[in-house]
C-alpha cells in the first residue's frame, strides 16, 4: 500500500517537474506581431530558410520525423508548435533553449518572420494579425539604401542611409545601424550599433589593427536593426581599410617534422657527413688491410735468399 502511494507521489513529482520545464515567453514578446503580412513570397523565402537552418532537427513539416532528441523538436505542423503565438515563436527562435540553438546572430528578424510565415502555411485555421504600426502601409520608410564609405582623416567608416520619398532621394534619420566585418565563420561587430543623424549618416570607429587580406581588403556589411520601421536593408562592400596581412603557410618552414624536401639544412648536412664519414672509415680500413696484405705477400728479397 505504501509502495503504491509512493509511486503515486513519484508520478505527481515527475509531472510537476515536467510542467516546470514550460518555456516561459515574456508577455511583451508573446504579443509581438509580424511587421508584414504573410504572403507566397514570404512563405517561399521561409521554406528556403527552413530547409537550410531548421530541417536538420525539426524534420519535414507534417511528417513528424524530427531527429531523436530529448525533448523531441516539435513538428512545424503539430498542435504544440501552432498553439504558440507569432510573438512566442519569434522569441523562441531568437532566444533558443537547451538543444534549440539561438538564431539571434544567424537569422535577421525579417528572416525569422519568414520562417514563421512558412510554419503558418501548415495551419489552415491561422489568421494573421499584422503589427499595428505597420498596418498603415507596412514599414513607414521603404527601400532604404545604405552606402558604406571610408573617412580616412577620421579613421571612421560612414554608413549613409537614404530612401526614395515623394520621388526624391532623402536621407533617413534616426535609424539604428550595425556594421560588421566579414570573417571566415561569421560577422565581426565593428564598434557598436549607431543611429543615423539628420543627414542619414552613422559613423563607426574602425579598429586600426583589424587584419584584412594580403592587400588589406575587408568586406563590410551594414545592417538595419529596426526592421519593423525601416524594412530590411543591408549593404555589402569591400574597402581597403584593413591591415594587409600575409602569413606564410604553416608547413613552409624547414623543420624536423616537415617532409623530406623541407629537412633543416644542418640536419641534412650532418646526416650526409656522418654517413659518408662512417663508410669512408670502413673503406679506409679495408684499403689499409689490403695494403698490409700486399706488403706481406711481396717476396722479401732478403728472406728469399
Amino acid at each position: 500500500m505504501i509502495k503504491r502511494y509512493f509511486s503515486l507521489l513519484l508520478i505527481v513529482l515527475i509531472s510537476l517537474r515536467l510542467s516546470a520545464q514550460v518555456w516561459v515567453v515574456p508577455a511583451e514578446n508573446e504579443l509581438r506581431k509580424s511587421p508584414f503580412a504573410f504572403d507566397d513570397a514570404s512563405r517561399k523565402a521561409g521554406s528556403e530558410i527552413y530547409n537550410a537552418s531548421c530541417k536538420s532537427c525539426h524534420g519535414e513539416p507534417g511528417k513528424n520525423n524530427p531527429i531523436p532528441l530529448v525533448p523531441p523538436p516539435p513538428d512545424f505542423a503539430s498542435v504544440k508548435m501552432q498553439s504558440n503565438s507569432d510573438g512566442a515563436l519569434q522569441f523562441k527562435v531568437t532566444a533558443g533553449r537547451g538543444p534549440m540553438p539561438s538564431f539571434k546572430n544567424t537569422l535577421s528578424a525579417t528572416d525569422v518572420w519568414r520562417v514563421i510565415s512558412y510554419a503558418r502555411s501548415f495551419n489552415d485555421k491561422y489568421v494573421q494579425e499584422v503589427s499595428k504600426s505597420s498596418e498603415a502601409g507596412g514599414a513607414s520608410v521603404q527601400n532604404v539604401k545604405i552606402q558604406i564609405s571610408w573617412l580616412k582623416d577620421k579613421n571612421q567608416v560612414q554608413a549613409s542611409l537614404s530612401a526614395m520619398k515623394d520621388k526624391v532621394n532623402q536621407p533617413v534619420a534616426g535609424a539604428e545601424v550595425k556594421l560588421f566585418a566579414k570573417r571566415y565563420f561569421g560577422n565581426l561587430l565593428i564598434d557598436e550599433a549607431r543611429t543615423t543623424d539628420a543627414l542619414g549618416n552613422a559613423l563607426f570607429n574602425f579598429p586600426a589593427d583589424l587584419p584584412g587580406d594580403s592587400a588589406g581588403h575587408v568586406q563590410l556589411i551594414a545592417r538595419l536593426t529596426n526592421e519593423a520601421i525601416f524594412g530590411e536593408a543591408k549593404a555589402d562592400s569591400v574597402l581597403i581599410i584593413g591591415v594587409p596581412t600575409y602569413r606564410p603557410p604553416l608547413n613552409e618552414q624547414r623543420a624536423m617534422w616537415n617532409v623530406v624536401s623541407k629537412t633543416p639544412i644542418w640536419l641534412l648536412l650532418a646526416y650526409t657527413i656522418a654517413v659518408l664519414g662512417a663508410w669512408g672509415f670502413i673503406i679506409y680500413v679495408f684499403l689499409q688491410i689490403r695494403a698490409i696484405f700486399l706488403a706481406g705477400s711481396k717476396k722479401d728479397p732478403d728472406s728469399a735468399e
Binding site: S102, F185, L188, R247, L250, W257, N258
Partner: protein, 323 residues
C-alpha cells in the same frame, strides 16, 4: 624467288597485273565492308528509335536528398564517382591563407558531452572512442574542480609528425595536423610522441566497417576508419572547407567552443554564432595553451575556469565501459 613475292598462288601473273588485282580486291572488300557497316548502323539506329518510342521506359525509384521519391529512367542514371585522388590532394594541401585556431572556455563547460557525440557520429566512432576527451581536472586539494575538453592541439611544432616514419601524419598549410589512414602502418610512434594523448588506435574493427566498405576514403574525415591505424581529431577539416564550424563546435549547447582564423584575428562561438577578436578574447580572459613549455606551439587555447556559474557534480562518465 617468284613464289615468295605472291603468297596467294598467282605464281605466273606479272607484277602490274598483280597490283590491279589487289586494287580490285581492295575496292570489292571496301564496298562489302561499307554495306555491312551501313546495314549494322541502320539496325542499331532503328533499334534505338524503337527503344525511344516505347511507351514505358524502365524506371527506377530514387530517393533524393530532400527526401522525395522520384522515378528516373534507368538508362539516364549516372553514378557519381568521388575522385579519391582529388580528396587526397586537397586534404594534403589544406586551405590557403588560413590558420585555424580553437578557443575553449573552461568556465562554461558542464560536461554536456554533445561535442563528443557529434564528433563520434561524424567520424564513425564507438561511444568509448574519443577524439575529444573531457577530463575532470583539479589542480590541488583546495582548488575547484572543472571539466576540460581536450581535442588534438594541432601543434605548430608537432612531435607526432616528426616521428612518423611513413609520412602518414602531416601538417597542412592551414595548421591542421591530419592522418592518412591509407598510409598509416600502425606503428604507433605518434601515440608515444604526443604529449597530449590526443591519438587513438583502432585495435578492433571500426564501428561502421561493414557499412563503410567500398566508400571512397576521405582524408579530411577519416572515413572509412581502418583497423590497425591511428585516428585523431581533424578540426573537422571537411566542414571548414565549406566554411562551416566543426562538428563539436556547433554541437555545444553551452558556448564552450570558439573557432576561427588567426590570420583574420577572429573566432566565432559555436553556440551563439557571435564573432570576437581572438587577440582581445585571449587578452581579456587570460587565455593560455596546454603545456606550452614543451615548445609544441598548440593551436588550441584555453580560457581559465573562472566564475563558474554552476555547481560541479562529479558524475560518472555514462559511456565509460564498452557496450
Amino acid at each position: 624467288m617468284s613464289h615468295n613475292s605472291n603468297s596467294t598462288g598467282h605464281d605466273h601473273s606479272g607484277r602490274e597485273e598483280d597490283n590491279q588485282n589487289s586494287r580490285r580486291a581492295f575496292f570489292k572488300n571496301f564496298g562489302l565492308l561499307g554495306a555491312v557497316a551501313a546495314a549494322g548502323g541502320a539496325a542499331i539506329y532503328s533499334g534505338y528509335k524503337y527503344e525511344e518510342s516505347k511507351p514505358g521506359h524502365d524506371f527506377v525509384k530514387v530517393l533524393t536528398s530532400d527526401n522525395r521519391i522520384v522515378e528516373v529512367p534507368r538508362d539516364q542514371i549516372k553514378d557519381i564517382r568521388v575522385d579519391v585522388d582529388k580528396l587526397q590532394k586537397q586534404g594534403r594541401e589544406g586551405l590557403k591563407g588560413h590558420r585555424f585556431v580553437m578557443v575553449i572556455d573552461l568556465a562554461k563547460c558542464r560536461n554536456a558531452r554533445k561535442c563528443i557525440s557529434a564528433c563520434q557520429g561524424a567520424h564513425h566512432l564507438r561511444p568509448y572512442e574519443y577524439h575529444i576527451n573531457t577530463l575532470v581536472m583539479q589542480e590541488s586539494e583546495h582548488t575547484a574542480p572543472y571539466f576540460m575538453p581536450k581535442p588534438c592541439q594541432h601543434c605548430d611544432n608537432p612531435p607526432c609528425v616528426a616521428v612518423c616514419p611513413v609520412d602518414a601524419t602531416f601538417k597542412r598549410q592551414d595548421g591542421i595536423v591530419l592522418i592518412d589512414n591509407e598510409r598509416c602502418i600502425g606503428c604507433r610512434f605518434c601515440i608515444a610522441a604526443c604529449p597530449y594523448s590526443a591519438r587513438l588506435f583502432h585495435w578492433e574493427e571500426p564501428l561502421m566497417a561493414e557499412a563503410d566498405k567500398g566508400k571512397p576514403y576521405n582524408i579530411e574525415l577519416n572515413v572509412p576508419q581502418r583497423k590497425g591505424t591511428i585516428t585523431k581529431c581533424l578540426f573537422s577539416s571537411d566542414r571548414l572547407r565549406e566554411g562551416k564550424l566543426p562538428y563539436c563546435v556547433s554541437a555545444c549547447p553551452n558556448g564552450v567552443y570558439y573557432f576561427g582564423d588567426e590570420n583574420q584575428d577572429a573566432v566565432t562561438n559555436g553556440t551563439t554564432k557571435e564573432t570576437f577578436r581572438l587577440s582581445e578574447l585571449l587578452r581579456v580572459n587570460a587565455g593560455y595553451q596546454l603545456m606550452a613549455e614543451l615548445g609544441t606551439k598548440p593551436r588550441v587555447y584555453y580560457l581559465p575556469p573562472k566564475n563558474r556559474l554552476f555547481e560541479f557534480k562529479d558524475e560518472k562518465d555514462p559511456v565509460q565501459e564498452p557496450t
